[in-house]
Symmetry: C2
Amino acid sequence: MPNFKFAGRTGRMENPIIRQLLRLGQREGVISLAGGIPAAETFPVEEIIEASRRALERWGSRALQYSPTEGLAPLREYVARRKGVRPEQVLVTSGSQQGLDLIGRVFIDEGDEVLVESPTYMGALQAWNVYGPRYLEAPTDADGLVPAGLPDREPKLAYVLPNFQNPTGSMLPEKRRESVVAWARRRGVLLIEDDPYGHLYFEEEPPASLQRRCPDGVVYLGTFSKIIAPGLRMGYVIAPDEIINMLAQAKQAADLHSQAYGQAILAELAEMGVIEKQEQRTRNLYRRRAEMLLGLLRRYMPTGVEWSPPRGGMFVWLTLPEGVDTLELFEYAVEQGVAYVPGPVFSASGGLAGSLRLTFVSVPEEQMEEGVRRLARVLREALASAG
Amino acid sequence: MPNFKFAGRTGRMENPIIRQLLRLGQREGVISLAGGIPAAETFPVEEIIEASRRALERWGSRALQYSPTEGLAPLREYVARRKGVRPEQVLVTSGSQQGLDLIGRVFIDEGDEVLVESPTYMGALQAWNVYGPRYLEAPTDADGLVPAGLPDREPKLAYVLPNFQNPTGSMLPEKRRESVVAWARRRGVLLIEDDPYGHLYFEEEPPASLQRRCPDGVVYLGTFSKIIAPGLRMGYVIAPDEIINMLAQAKQAADLHSQAYGQAILAELAEMGVIEKQEQRTRNLYRRRAEMLLGLLRRYMPTGVEWSPPRGGMFVWLTLPEGVDTLELFEYAVEQGVAYVPGPVFSASGGLAGSLRLTFVSVPEEQMEEGVRRLARVLREALASAG
């Protein structure tokens, strides 16, 4: 019998904590403020039925045949138009997660330094861990990445989420964007700009992207998951041609190309004007829910628990007084009927146990108050026994 | 400015020959017998429009939300039923190409030995090269892999295409299947069985798969690309639970999950009976085209050019007398208005220059005779100058 000897890199793939958290949080009766998924009621189901029919009527079997690795022309053109780049700079990916994986594949040698924010998006860590980087962490505050905290080093990549960061919800102001780009230019560091939430602003549109400021030094990740639907698995990368070519080569080996049918559907949705309409609609819904959650936090959270109101996106980041470990507390919270995401999940070094992430978008509105009440009770107890 | 230093593994990703061939073969006026794509006229466009509507009406936003990495339950259940395994043994992938990549990712350490047939499917080499294996080659004849040629070694993986192999079209007979499985058991080697064409038999159904014969020692790759449509990017892996779990973990980091909508569409097509109908329909068309091509080869090919009639699948493999190099000849052939795939593309060691692959499925029937005539003329000239 074969003994299934797995490759060495599989030892870096596991993250048993996250898997266990996800399982626990799905228990019957638990109100989950932990989700990282968009509100399903925003998905334009009727429009997608219509766009599917139109896509097949217009494209016929071309929407069903093998197609170019880089993506279908009308979708690349739409993205290029919206983002102010050339279509050749756009690679369609199977969700942003694939973009992250392909970036790891073409850039990260074992032991390479990769700078991430603290906290940062766990999916990026998951995508890159398999390639064996060493992470450097840059500090953040309520305005995102702190430029003064950028290291005197030249990491291979620096990963930044400037718009309504996951998990903190922070937005990087104009001046910090300039500083980050200046640091990257000076150090010769390639910036990876992840922007799943840029269209989900509550007040004014965010400042221009890092990619716009430094087109030859930034790899930009976008997605349709948060605006149309994640189940379509459609994202894109914008980068200088040389990088797009290498990423496309990696993608060809990984899955040949992203689904042609889904790309054709998105091109139809774009032509039907559905994408912009969805952006507006989702913004409005998420703004309302954010206000609802923030009101409840103000009302129920014990003194000492802090947060900054997000200006877009899907998340609020809570910081607790010394002495409470959100990872240790998690199982008890679930027993008490509420789930959140503990801070260490977002840390490249396993820190941030004094923080947690809440979402306001996927929890049913009628359960939100009870969820916050339960969480407040759990935190109050923990603070009492910590104090 | 960043200098875009790519990872070392990117040096193993390039295959400039294949890229150049593909470009050349697409020239205006060239009749391509080189294609590796299904006949687009078989795609069930109307049925997919219907299944798309049904999928969204039945599944609603669940077909558009993030979904389990392993795949949607009804699709896994359908595959399990057809293949005689448990649904837990099925992982839905973004085409078979992703299955190959994930296998490389979880099994191949740099320098590991991987046994492949000579010739073998180029897409597998492309998927695995990035992981840096050393290939061992096993000889094949008109009946596929020659068991007596299997090495006295224990490669990490042994990759076999038993049904209508790409590129040779050969089918591994019952007895050889037993011998291959016995060798793998004896040596403790994990078999990778790639079966994109098993349903495309022209006469009787092929013997039971290696997976059926040795469920705990085989990773089986299947796909809907050749029966429904490749543009849906839907394939699957069948393997022991422990391997499925590891592949799913790798897939989660690579792209979270395959498109939920496409999976729901396939589940509907299965329920509508479209998949089995398509198998029949595609078999009939391909059988007719194979006969057509074989008749033309008999009529036009110069003496000394040899082939074995395929018993299914999409390809015929031609072997030429000594002295002709199909790679060198390719550019001239394209100038003469015909394209094929040179043998070395299917060789892990760059050999097989005396062979070439033809397809009979994607060339328009009315162009087939002229294509074969051009190819015969080119080969006749080459043989004359070689002799």
